[in-house]
Symmetry: C2
Subunit: 193 residues, 2 copies
């Protein structure tokens, strides 16, 4: 998606260790008009699919998921990261390792908000190792929900997450796929569509 790639070229900051900072428009300060364009693009790419609900994970997926869900006319649910143990049995629970924070979170969603047979679209801001999305897929599997697709804003295609998910048959639609980044020149190269 050209609009997102242009924003990454103009405002993204490449740091050592393949870190891409996009906090001026995507995940700290956020541009909701860009999110609306992204939502329209996913709407096209997932046209014809039944989508009953959007599922994301806190925190930076929430703003994008909210606007996608509004455009699709469906509810959205955000899975919560927690370090506390809650054994009330009312939640689906999985573990996700965060490379950014170097720790494992419990990720939970209330059972009554993902239902058996429900068709779900997963949304997140980044796809790199794929750990967060694998966590959401595990929650959907526990619930017996059908994952219709996975919408990602920025995929780091040089990491394993995208390939792993596509090889398992998931319909992954990443709006910007980064082939390589150079923290010396600041250059970002995208995968040619």
């Amino acid at each position: 998606m050209k609009e997102l790639e242009d924003r990454i070229r103009e405002q993204g900051i490449v740091r050592a260790g393949n870190v891409l900072k996009v906090d001026s428009f995507l995940n700290h300060q956020c541009d909701p008009q860009l999110f609306a364009s992204m939502a329209e693009e996913w709407k096209k790419r997932f046209a014809g699919k039944q989508i009953d609900k959007v599922l994301t994970i806190e925190a930076s997926g929430i703003g994008i998921a909210a606007i996608v869900a509004e455009k699709l006319g469906v509810p959205f649910v955000f899975a919560k990261k927690t370090e506390s143990i809650n054994l009330d049995g009312e939640q689906y629970r999985t573990q996700v390792f965060s490379f950014t924070k170097k720790k494992t979170y419990d990720v939970i969603v209330a059972k009554r908000f993902i239902n058996e047979g429900e068709h779900v679209l997963l949304i997140d801001d980044f796809l790199a190792s794929g750990k967060a999305i694998l966590g959401l897929l595990d929650l959907c599997k526990q619930a017996g929900a059908v994952v219709e697709g996975i919408g990602i804003a920025i995929e780091k295609s040089f990491q394993e997450g995208g390939e792993l998910l596509r090889s398992r048959g998931y319909n992954v639609q990443s709006l910007a796929r980064i082939a390589a980044m150079d923290d010396q020149t600041g250059e970002v190269k995208f995968v040619e569509d």
Copy 2:
């Protein structure tokens, strides 16, 4: 706002200790069409005010802020809760005590995303003690930003936050103001507008 009050009456669950669970439509599973109606209502209530940016705090304020910002045509920023100490000087920082989690968080926002003289609308899902909003106000004060108003979905009017903020001259617009709740009958009484 009748639509929000009706949803609270129909789907809110009153628990002991003045806890109101609205996680089926406001802060876990979320109804973006309701958020769009709320955004239109705030747009009316803050008509004529200059609003350059929407500021909220993670996590449950983000979805609401995203849709409000989209309707206003401005960016939004979410302040981040963190327990880590970062002394790089690039962030405004304050402390917020969470009654729900019984601990104090550092709340941060990157300095480049709140600017001196910028006119800001604060948005959050709940107002009770007011601690989270006081934290956001402190961040705005550090930045020299002008707080044009405070938009709250649900205010617990029997707690001190609303009165405290209004007595300091802030324009607080809560879309549902709860006067009392009864966890035995499940009844919720609203403040008459």
